[in-house]
Amino acid sequence: MTRLEGGPDLSGPLAFVDRFARGIDVLSRWVIVVMMAAMAILVSLQVFFRYALNSSIDFADEASRFFFVAAIFLALPHGIRRGVHVGIDLFVNMMPRGLHTVLFRISAAASAVLMIVILWTGAIATADKWNELMPTLPVSAGLYYLPVLFTGFHGFLHLVVLAVGGPACMTTESET
């Protein structure tokens, strides 16, 4: 059994999914930190190269965009249970609590469907592009799609917890 902060006791398969999603949270957090740092450093270095060394790093644009895409899509699922992704809660707040919960579950379930479609079609897009190389780096351009696909997977896990567990599974912990 997993005890959520201020949330319900999860048990059985749901607790497993939740633990799994949180395990991925920990891993993905570190990847995001590295990607963000690499992006900031590479873009700054490009300016330094241009003015101080009067030259440029050919792959800087390419690589920094890759780090950016990776950071954004890997970070997207982290915002789901923190309520980072804004919505209109004016109308639901006027509804009775029971209905509110039902609508919350419907919306989480629909989002989970969206995520599973992203995972599935993202895998297809990755495979399709695998033979193409990035313009200035000798690595597959299919790598670009991996973070998108991963958003689908990671986001799906969190949304399943929300759809089954209800609003109480939204986390109240701070953003770090």
């Binding site: 009067n54 030259s55 050919d58 390419e62 399709d128 190389l133 200035t136």
Partner: protein, 305 residues
């Protein structure tokens, strides 16, 4: 009734977009409306990279764009992007309509693309804000924006310039603000993107000749009946023929417009061009590490014949 969706990154007024309108009319005529073509020029369905992905996945039927977007899938295409390769556009098309083109088409087919034809994007010319370019030495130290392509970057490095990769969407303001000294593009693009407003000197360096190819999804093309396939091929031949004539005629018109708009124009003499070719001789050899040397030798042989 089958709908063929075709995407491209050139503006509506560009000859390539015009050619695709001719293609549409002719296909619909030839198939009695059994095939319907929907054109989406001007990046309506996203940039060229994305369009290529859409074709590869079969989400749309075809894309028309610079062959540069296929060189990382079919590296052999880089052989026809070598600097100072073609003396004239006629020579360029002669090569692409011959055995070299057939070879490229086969390579594209292996990657799931049916090539339907080559149109003219044009000779690329350099502009800048520092000094007139009249010889290879004048490139020294210029910060010039190039497409992110190794052959292109190496060429300008060999000429002594300081090449920078930057998205074309940022280019205008980068030139305006002096982040970069110059850029290189066909006259048509220089004019339609209004780079003349932020650039002083123009030279007809003609360092690369760029092709536009129209590429369809192999499976989607294969699903068409043989008669429909033939109709698509025929319509495209006519469209390509029209485009090549039109583009050739417009090229000088665009150059003259740039001059009329105030750009200072300098023609490159044959001796100066020879000097630039000399300076970039090593590029073809270097490319042999990434592309089958036989293909490069074949292109080099065909282009001087």
């Amino acid at each position: 009734q089958t709908t063929l969706r075709v995407a491209g990154n050139f503006p509506v007024e560009h000859t390539a977009s015009g050619a695709m309108e001719i293609f549409k009319e002719r296909v619909e005529e030839l198939t009695g409306g059994e095939l319907v073509v929907q054109n989406f020029p001007a990046m309506q369905l996203g940039g060229a990279n994305e369009n290529v992905d859409q074709v590869r996945s079969g989400a749309i039927f075809a894309v028309f764009t610079s062959i540069a977007y296929f060189t990382r899938t079919v590296p052999e295409l880089e052989a026809v992007s070598l600097p100072f390769l073609f003396e004239s556009r006629d020579k360029a098309f002669e090569v692409m309509d011959g055995p070299v083109g057939t070879l490229m088409d086969e390579k594209l087919l292996e990657e799931g693309f049916v090539n339907l034809g080559y149109m003219e994007l044009g000779f690329r010319h350099a502009t800048n804000n520092v000094r007139p370019i009249t010889s290879a030495e004048d490139f020294a130290g210029l910060r010039i924006r190039l497409q992110p392509n190794e052959v292109h970057l190496d060429t300008f490095r060999a000429l002594g310039a300081n090449p920078q990769a930057m998205d074309v969407s940022e280019l205008y303001s980068a030139l305006q603000q002096g982040v970069l000294d110059g850029q290189e593009n066909p006259y048509n693009i220089i004019s339609t993107r209004r780079f003349n407003e932020v650039q002083t000197y123009l030279s007809d360096t003609g360092h690369f000749f760029d092709f536009i190819n129209v590429v369809a999804n192999r499976d989607a093309f294969g699903r068409l009946s043989p008669e429909h396939q033939e109709a698509v091929r025929t319509a495209m031949r006519e469209a390509v023929e029209w485009q090549r004539k039109e583009a050739a005629a417009l090229d000088l018109k665009f150059r003259d417009e740039l001059i009329a708009a105030g750009m200072e124009f300098h023609a490159i003499t044959p001796e100066a061009r020879a000097g630039m070719r000399e300076a970039t001789m090593g590029i073809a050899e270097a490319l042999k590490s990434r592309v089958d040397p036989a293909v490069i030798d074949m292109v080099l042989a065909e282009s001087v014949e």
